[in-house]
Symmetry: C2
Subunit: 144 residues, 2 copies
DNA sequence: CTACTGTTGCGACTCATTCTCAATAAGGAT
DNA sequence: ATCCTTATTGAGAATGAGTCGCAACAGTAG
């Protein structure tokens, strides 16, 4: 299996774009975070490592990471988007506590079947899905 | 079954809030739109009807509609949230074309089972879910 | 190495949403 | 019905995520 940076370089080459150190630093940082992240967290990490990269470049790189399949939007919260790297990881869904905001990742194979059924029913070539389940975690239920 | 305005009034009363014509106009407008909508569309509808209501009040009313279960966030797109009224409607999921943006609503009972399984597995009291399936619609596949 | 052109950083800008605050109006009490 | 307290409203200012314009810079083809 190719590394994420190899995948990214091939993607960049295929699109006729240029290989730049800034873009590759973003790729590296994205795969150094093993959690959901937003642009500010990504920016903070890069700054902490003394990488001189502007927020604009991060914003410009994110669509490339999405299109190349290295990351995906995880959810929209607190007024902005959150992402997660997905290359090299199995698909998972999210279970969120409406009280404390905790997010648990889970896998559930039956959701995959829905893709096929729905795709056929409406003549769609289905490429993926996003499932979020909401509720109240055990800890938060105790507190009330 | 109670009407949406009755549900809303009860909710308002239970929270110790005040019944205002502005809030009730928003409720009415939300249930006059039988489609996904955003704040601007809601505002435009109210203005078209010569309701003098400010956008700030709409923004302030939306959390109340969410909490009372009359509406839900449908999806985030074009830099802002879209909503839909759900009171009095069966739960449905969304199938979206990544090319043209078309959104199809569908129902799929097997997703309900996932709620139960996951809730038990992680000790959550599950209250709902949001499933979006992505792909390319038949029309868009022809065009390329 | 050169030329061409895509990319970067910076700050200005846009636009959705929130906040501030003075005026208004619910709604409980009398 | 009137008063009083305080939540709510409208208007506009403020915030903040994300985008854009532009001049300096740097890949890459030849
Ligand atoms: Mn995740
Ligand atoms: Mn819908
Ligand atoms: Zn919780
Ligand atoms: Zn389409």
């Amino acid at each position: 299996m190719k590394s994420e940076i190899e995948v990214f370089r091939k993607f960049i080459r295929n699109k006729g774009l240029r290989k730049t150190p800034e873009r590759e630093q973003v790729v590296r940082a994205v795969f150094a975070i093993h959690d959901h992240f937003d642009v500010d967290e990504l920016y903070a990490l890069l700054r902490r490592e003394n990488e001189k990269i502007s927020k604009a470049t991060i914003y410009r790189t994110i669509p490339l990471l999405l299109e190349s399949g290295l990351i995906q939007e995880a959810y929209f919260e607190d007024g902005h988007l959150h992402y997660e790297h997905i290359y090299g990881h199995d698909h998972h869904c999210h279970l969120r506590c409406l009280d404390c905001g905790k997010v648990i990742e889970f896998t559930e194979e039956t959701v995959k079947d829905v893709e096929g059924k729905v795709g056929e029913r409406y003549d769609f070539l289905v490429t993926g899905h996003k499932l979020e389940v909401y509720g109240h975690c055990g800890k938060c239920r105790v507190h009330k």
